[in-house]
Symmetry: C2
Subunit: 260 residues, 2 copies
């Protein structure tokens, strides 16, 4: 299975141009699953709730349609997050598009910093989608800090966790190694690069998009500043082997009666 990340630097508010760049990057790519950064179309530092609602889209909006068009043309599943407007709410919604349709949707459960003032916390469970026999889960950026997020996906059988991100703290790339080891799953973290200086805030995103294997192997990793599209062949079945020793199964050895 050929999976990869597209690390790039969206320009704030330039949704059409950002989508065009994604399409350009991916035009000749042969892959089965590509993960885009969080908010690949809109950018991240919204000045205000009003600006967010203007850039946000309802289900079926142009960025949703773009992913569907892309997934159909490429014959690949594409994962990315979109600011989704639902009535008066706005969610940070991560979708998996495959064969021209949105097949799975997850709304960011753990909002980061200023997102708390802009977005509604996710209302959908961590769940797993069967992509031609491969179980794919989604989480978004700051969800990494809560081990319960990837654990929920692993307990539902996830083999690959897609993790669109806009990381600014330094911790996540290494922490995801632990997440993969403790759950025995692959993770594709796609981060963006560049700086957004808006609303009196300056955020520099740390890049370091990566694919981690089920024993914590760093299979590939981008650098901190450059745009980077990379694809790798992985064997999702390796994520079914939960035996970290001859006698220790990462899931079956859990003892929930002692857990909070």
């Amino acid at each position: 299975m050929r999976v990869g990340y597209l690390q790039f630097g969206p320009v704030f508010g330039e949704k059409q141009a950002n989508r065009d760049r994604v399409a350009g990057f991916l035009s000749d790519v042969k892959a089965d699953l590509i993960v885009l950064p969080e908010f690949f179309a809109s950018g991240y530092v919204f000045e205000s709730r009003e600006e967010l609602m203007e850039l946000a889209e309802e289900d079926g909006g142009e960025s949703f349609a773009f992913l569907n068009d892309l997934s159909r043309r490429m014959g690949a599943a594409i994962v990315g997050s979109i600011a989704e407007r639902v009535g008066d709410d706005c969610y940070n919604t991560c979708v998996l598009s495959s064969g021209g349709d949105i097949k799975a949707r997850y709304r960011k459960v753990h909002l980061f910093d200023r997102e708390k003032e802009l977005f509604t916390p996710g209302d959908l469970p961590f769940d797993v989608y069967d992509l031609r026999g491969v179980k794919v889960g989604m989480m978004v950026c700051f969800d990494w800090v809560f081990p319960e997020a990837m654990r929920a996906l692993a307990l539902k059988g996830a083999q690959i966790v897609c993790h669109p991100s806009n990381l600014v703290l330094p911790f996540c790339p290494r922490a995801m190694i632990t997440r993969c080891i403790e759950n025995g799953v692959y993770a594709i973290t796609t981060n963006r690069v560049g700086t957004e200086a808006r609303a009196g805030i300056e955020l520099t995103f740390i890049g370091m998009s990566q694919v981690i294997g089920p024993r914590g192997e760093v299979l590939m990793r981008a650098n901190e500043v450059e745009e980077d599209l990379r694809i790798i062949d992985i064997n999702p079945a390796l994520a079914d082997d939960k035996m970290i020793t001859q006698r220790n199964h990462l899931i079956d050895d859990r003892r929930p009666e002692f857990y909070p």
Copy 2:
């Protein structure tokens, strides 16, 4: 608060000699809390259940008494694990001795590899002991791989997690950085060094004892092979600051309704 690890290489079965070495290492040390390796007295690779039961001790046995004597003489809390015999069961029991008494006890909940054939899984909850106003939790070695273990301690208010270990896999020292970040706590992992070749098995322990801070700082770390006693001054109150950003609290931001 002065805390530290004593990384050393116990000799299998030489309980008195190993205790004497611990006492020697610590004779002139001024500290408040010292963590010893897992099975500091007995060593690790038991040939058989019979050998284990012979080396194991009932509550109050000589290794328990040794820790109590040491904690009273030093005026420090000492944490270490002992093979504890309870009727026909044997537990991997971690104790905290302070002022000449065993104040807290934890029995390893997640048994590693061959331990499953030798020990009874722990039957006590992850819990926190108030050491002169500082909340101290205990977990043992392989518990690191289950994020629920340290999470349980953090939810009970642990500021410092003591983690006696006999690590042979390479993952733990880095994973404990993630554990400390995700919970905002200190961790003292004390591993042993050396090799035990017994029962047709050869295990080399990886050393790398460490003290990690609540933002994942590696405050000190031993190397892979040498015996090493080190003490550092820490401020346990820093573990009460769970704000990883201005708006994100590591504990209060949890959303258990979405967790397994």
